[in-house]
């Protein structure tokens, strides 16, 4: 199943963000945008591929995208 994900790039790999993105793409990550100022890649991936994406050098975290709302009751 394909899901939207956000990939955080590790601090030490920030100047290689585009290279890391390339590796992610090679492993099935469909890259839609690069938030270079905060070191985040946005895109989608197969659920089964998440562990592999997390293991890429330079990747700090891979998290499923969730919907967000204003704080309830506000």
């Amino acid at each position: 199943m394909r899901i939207n994900v956000a990939i955080a790039i590790a601090e030490e790999a920030r100047d290689r963000i585009y290279e890391v993105a390339q590796v992610c793409r090679a492993l099935g990550f469909a890259h839609t945008s690069t938030l270079s100022d905060i070191g985040i890649l946005i895109g989608s991936a197969e659920v089964e591929d998440l562990p592999m994406l997390r293991a890429i050098p330079g990747v700090l975290a891979v998290e499923m995208e969730r919907s967000r709302r204003i704080a309830a009751g506000s």
């Binding site: 956000a6 990939i7 790039i9 905060i38 985040i40 975290a61 998290e63 204003i70 506000s74």
Partner: protein
């Protein structure tokens, strides 16, 4: 999560009118002569203010205190002594007047059975009074404040002629606010000094407003929208980002790593992220943990207090470790602000209102100190708080205060 019932603090009854003591203005030029006059006229024993070193004014019956530099005395005479002084007043030997209770009416402070309670005045919303915004010489001039929310009513008269940069990250939706929440938050943070038809409700009227629409008209969005909004704010060198977004977390939950990375990077670039602690509590019966994304260590988590500066019943608490603390508190009940046309004005309650108030004050701090950016801005904000009686779990280090 069950917590002990909140114990209300003791409150004194309201006092107004006369105290029962009297003030007397004396013609005698020396303390010695004044003491002699009052002893002779009414049998009163007089102390002299320079002899006292404590701040408390306890005057026993039959005694008085001479304020020697003012040439007047405060007397606690019995009825016979007061009668004797009134006779001397009629003779012109002295001026006698009853002592009255006074209170700070100009601050919109209302005395009630519950003690002091702040209120909106014709001049300004109560939240601006409580945080000393009105007496601050700063207005956020030259400081960029980003609001990540449902957009802004760009045609609102209170924002006419204002420097506003905006972008929509909510798909095809324009920046124009079709929900109201974004306009409310932007108004609290950066509303004008003199609104068209309302008391002042905005903290930083001279700040440069950056509106990133990340939520749709149902106030819903995705991580992708929100993160893109944060990235945009950092790229545009916004010193402050206010995002009134909250997703409940469970006890024991840790913070999301992607948001924390984004926030830490933003901080390093000079952008401070501020978010609400969340409104899912029902104090005193239950307290819920600080919500995402405020539970990130690099994001400032804001709790809400009411007009008596007590923690709001819905305000979440710092129950989770490792970033899940409440950092500080701000006014968050009946907060006046702007609304999209045709209403133009509204009030809101929630930690969602407290967060942009902190953001506005952060802009004032950033103007006051050009070196206060990122982590330094966060530290400056947290250093100048008003301590509150509530525990740190509920209000962090205290109530946000504007730089003076």
């Amino acid at each position: 999560m069950r917590v002990n019932k909140h114990t209300p603090t003791a409150h004194r009854p309201v006092r107004s009118g006369c105290t029962g003591r009297n003030l007397v203005l004396l013609k005698e030029r020396t303390p010695r002569a004044a003491v002699a006059l009052l002893r002779h006229a009414a049998g009163l024993r007089l102390g002299v203010s320079s002899d006292f070193h404590t701040g408390r004014l306890q005057i026993a019956p039959g005694e008085g205190l001479l304020f020697e530099r003012l040439g007047c005395a405060l007397l606690n005479g019995d009825p016979d002594q007061t009668l004797a002084l009134a006779r001397r007043h009629r003779e012109g030997a002295l001026l006698l007047a009853p002592e009255r209770y006074v209170r700070a009416a100009e601050l919109g402070v209302a005395a009630s059975a519950d003690g002091l309670r702040l209120a909106d005045t014709r001049a300004a919303a109560w939240g601006l009074q409580a945080t000393r915004v009105l007496s601050s010489p700063y207005q956020g001039r030259g400081i960029r404040v980003a609001i990540l929310d449902t957009g802004l009513d760009l045609t609102h008269p209170d924002f006419a002629g204002r420097a506003i940069v905006s972008k929509s990250f909510a798909g095809e939706l324009p920046v124009d606010d079709g929900n109201g929440h974004g306009t409310l938050c932007a108004g609290i943070a950066c509303g004008p000094e003199q609104p068209a038809q309302a008391p002042r409700y905005g903290v930083a009227p001279a700040a440069d407003l950056y509106i990133a629409r990340v939520l749709d008209d149902n106030a819903s969005g995705t991580d992708g929208n929100v993160l893109a909004g944060i990235d945009w704010s950092v790229r545009h060198r916004c010193a402050v980002v206010s995002m009134s977004i909250g997703t409940p977390v469970a006890l024991g939950d840790s913070y999301p790593k992607v948001y924390e990375q984004a926030a830490a990077r933003a901080l390093a670039e000079g952008t401070l992220l501020i978010a609400p602690a969340g409104n899912s509590s029902q104090r005193p019966d239950s307290i819920e943990p600080v919500e995402h994304p405020a539970n990130c260590p690099s994001i400032l988590a804001v709790a809400a207090v009411d007009q008596t500066l007590a923690v709001a019943p819905f305000s979440n608490g710092g129950l989770n470790p490792d970033g899940g603390d409440v950092d500080l508190a701000a006014p968050g009940i009946a907060i006046a602000s702007a609304s999209p046309r045709p209403a133009l004005y509204q009030t809101g309650s929630g930690t969602s209102m407290a967060a942009p108030l902190v953001a506005g004050i952060a802009a004032l701090v950033a103007e006051a100190d050009r070196n206060a950016r990122g982590a330094a801005l966060r530290a400056a904000l947290l250093k100048a708080l008003l301590p509150l009686a509530a525990p740190a779990r509920d209000v962090g280090a205290g109530l946000v205060q504007a730089p003076q």
